[in-house]
């Protein structure tokens, strides 16, 4: 008596789950990116899903190392991954990402030529990364502490800011910042001792090491800091979105620039969806909305930047040719270099204890 009912129930469940998984896997785009970094904006995801019929599934990482591990250990899971250009080479060498057919991305033609042709993203004439946005690791100031914004990186060492300076807790960024302060090329540091001496003299000035945007904004909101290293997009977000007295300073000595790009992992089950998603992300319409609603770094798409108002920070300041001359783009670094930088950074942090 009971058996047929049970069988029917089981069959129904099985059919239902199969249908559900089929429907789900048919058009899912699995995206791997930093949290809160454009690709997971609910309004953007909703608009993309409505326009293309793909469903977006976001996953996040907290460091580039974690991102690489996630694609290494989950082959076939992700369709789109956001990789900093300095890591693209390593991902390609490990055969984690595949060449992208840019003819399927109508917006690719509008990407500025220097970014689209970057040797960090193109290997053997094939494109492994589609440039998305770029930005700077420069200085930001608490406007309450300055009558007029400083122009030199030396401001960080000024005794009047003692205990009110912050720097990010990141060995590579700290060492490259030291290279700029000592007038060296960030990608070819010849005099490491000079960097060490320079950073050693900075340590007593420091209040704390920040690790997230939220840390920085909280410290400014409670007026605990004067100046520190900060990302250009975050400084913009702090000012426009959170209404904090923060402004970005691109010191005359220069600043570290980075380029973020989208790639398609090897084994992606939905390459078409991935192409559509990447095209959506580099579209001027998405970019303008992202900048206005949330605040964002500078788009690699020239048309997208031109779509911003004349006086927009990302157009006026970041697009300034004078700025372009001062900045240095981060190139790939080896694991050995990264470990050496970390050892130096940890030693500096221990010495100041």
């Amino acid at each position: 008596m009971r058996m047929p009912r049970l069988t029917a129930l089981l069959t129904a469940t099985a059919v239902f789950t199969t249908a559900l998984t089929l429907a789900a896997s048919a058009a899912e785009v699995h995206v791997l990116n930093w949290k809160g970094y454009g690709a997971d904006e609910p309004w953007a995801v909703a608009a993309f899903e409505k326009a293309t019929g793909n469903k977006v599934v976001n996953d996040f990482f907290n460091s580039e190392q974690e991102m690489l591990t996630k694609i290494r250990t989950n082959p076939g899971l992700y369709d789109v991954v956001m990789i900093n250009a300095a890591f693209n080479d390593q991902a390609m060498a490990e055969k984690l990402i595949q060449p992208i057919d840019t003819s399927k991305l109508p917006n690719y033609a509008d990407i500025s030529k220097d970014k689209a042709g970057s040797p960090m993203l193109d290997h053997d004439g094939k494109v492994y990364g589609v440039p998305w946005v770029w930005g700077l690791t420069a200085l930001a100031i608490n406007e309450k502490s300055f009558d007029k914004p400083p122009t030199s990186i030396a401001e960080m060492w000024d005794p009047k800011h003692k205990g009110r300076v912050v720097i990010r807790d990141d060995a590579v960024e700290a060492v490259q910042f030291g290279a700029i302060a000592t007038g060296q090329n960030i990608n070819d540091i010849k005099d490491m001792d000079a960097v060490k001496t320079k950073l050693t003299s900075l340590m007593p000035q420091i209040k704390t090491f920040w690790s997230s945007e939220n840390d920085w904004n909280q410290m400014v909101a409670s007026n605990q800091i004067d100046i520190g290293t900060y990302w250009s997009g975050s400084a913009d977000r702090a000012k426009t979105h959170f209404k904090l007295p923060v402004s970005l300073v691109i010191p005359r000595e220069g600043a570290v620039a980075w380029l973020d790009a989208f790639s398609i992992p090897v084994g992606s089950k939905n390459v078409e969806g991935a192409q559509a998603f990447i095209n959506w992300m580099i579209d001027p319409k998405f970019y303008v909305e992202w900048v206005t609603k949330v605040g964002a770094p500078v788009s690699a798409n020239t048309k997208a930047v031109e779509a911003l108002p004349q006086d927009a920070f990302n157009r006026k300041v970041m697009g300034d040719p004078e700025v372009a001359k001062r900045i240095q783009f981060q190139a790939p670094i080896t694991d050995a270099q990264r470990e050496a930088y970390l050892a130096l950074w940890q030693q500096l942090k221990v010495d100041v204890k």
Binding site: T208, V352, K353
Partner: protein, 289 residues
């Protein structure tokens, strides 16, 4: 006789097996296996998942001894562990005594609830709320300046004391709970007997109460000392410039440079040092207990 008791204990084990199995199965899967994988990693030059060639090496353990940095940090972390444990005893023991011996009924329940309340909130939330209290212009600073006639400047945030405060707050409930259990088990008539035989309150405390509650104190101290030595979240968030400890360096190896082998080796050195300390302390503690 002996054979009989052996079979008895054997059958006792057999009947206990269904009760023990879930716990041991869980321990095997959740602790023993990952930990052995970590032991394995700590002897490797590189992780196999990166696709790079790897070999066995002792280099990760040698790294600890080749750089003074790690030893300095390990000593700093051990000192942190001792200080936090000490403060937990100073704050937790009297509270446990009052809970066990002075308060009764409803008021005991209410105070007990307050003690274990921190357990109900997420650790990160607790640390961030301390950040709001301790900073310059924060809750403590503002409140004290509102009450006091003179102006004082309290900025404890991003300092060593801030780390101590945060850690003591997180771990003091362990001390209260373990001490409460042993203090409650002390028969009141023992204390009364001591008093009626002419011992002062202090003598009763020293000769009766503390010795009898020693197992709780020791258990609480071990429960606090071990995790504090390896802590990294509290120092990182509250310690600022001074917040670099052994635990934060291990975290860096795992998170920042993906050097799991070195991170694992550093962790096992810490484990070994903690075990040695506990082993050295155990005769003293056993006599005391």
């Amino acid at each position: 006789m002996a054979a009989q008791s052996a079979t008895a204990s054997c059958s006792g084990l057999r009947s206990a097996l269904p009760l023990l199995a879930p716990a041991y199965l869980w321990l095997t899967v959740a602790i023993f296996l990952p930990l052995s994988a970590m032991v394995f990693f700590s002897f490797m030059t590189d992780l196999p998942l990166t696709g790079k060639p790897w070999a066995f090496t002792l280099g990760n353990y040698a790294a600890f001894f080749s750089q003074s940095l790690y030893l300095t940090l390990l000593l700093a972390s051990l000192r942190l562990g001792l200080e936090v444990t000490l403060w937990c005893i100073v704050i937790g023991y009297p509270a446990a005594y009052v809970l066990a011996k002075v308060l009764k009924g409803r008021s005991r329940e209410a105070i007990f609830l307050l003690v274990i309340l921190p357990f109900w909130s997420n650790g990160l939330v607790r640390i961030f709320s301390w950040a709001m209290v301790l900073r310059e212009g924060g809750i403590l600073d503002t409140a004290l300046n509102a009450v006091l006639p003179f102006k004082i400047n309290i900025d404890l945030m991003y300092s060593y004391p801030a780390v101590i405060i945060g850690l003591v707050h997180s771990y003091v409930p362990y001390m209260v709970l373990t001490c409460y259990l042993t203090l409650q088990a002390i028969d009141d008539s023992l204390i009364e007997a001591g008093r009626s035989l002419g011992a002062s309150r202090l003598q009763v405390l020293k000769r009766v109460i503390i010795p009898l509650s020693m197992p709780g104190l020791v258990a609480g101290a071990a429960l606090i000392f071990v995790p504090v030595v390896g802590s990294f979240m509290e120092p990182r968030i509250l310690g600022g410039r001074t917040g670099t400890f052994y635990g934060t360096v291990i975290e860096d190896q795992f998170v920042a440079v993906f050097n799991w082998p070195l991170g694992a080796a550093l962790s096992f050195i810490l484990l070994a040092v903690v075990l040695v300390i506990l082993a050295l302390a155990s005769p003293v503690l056993r006599r005391a207990a």
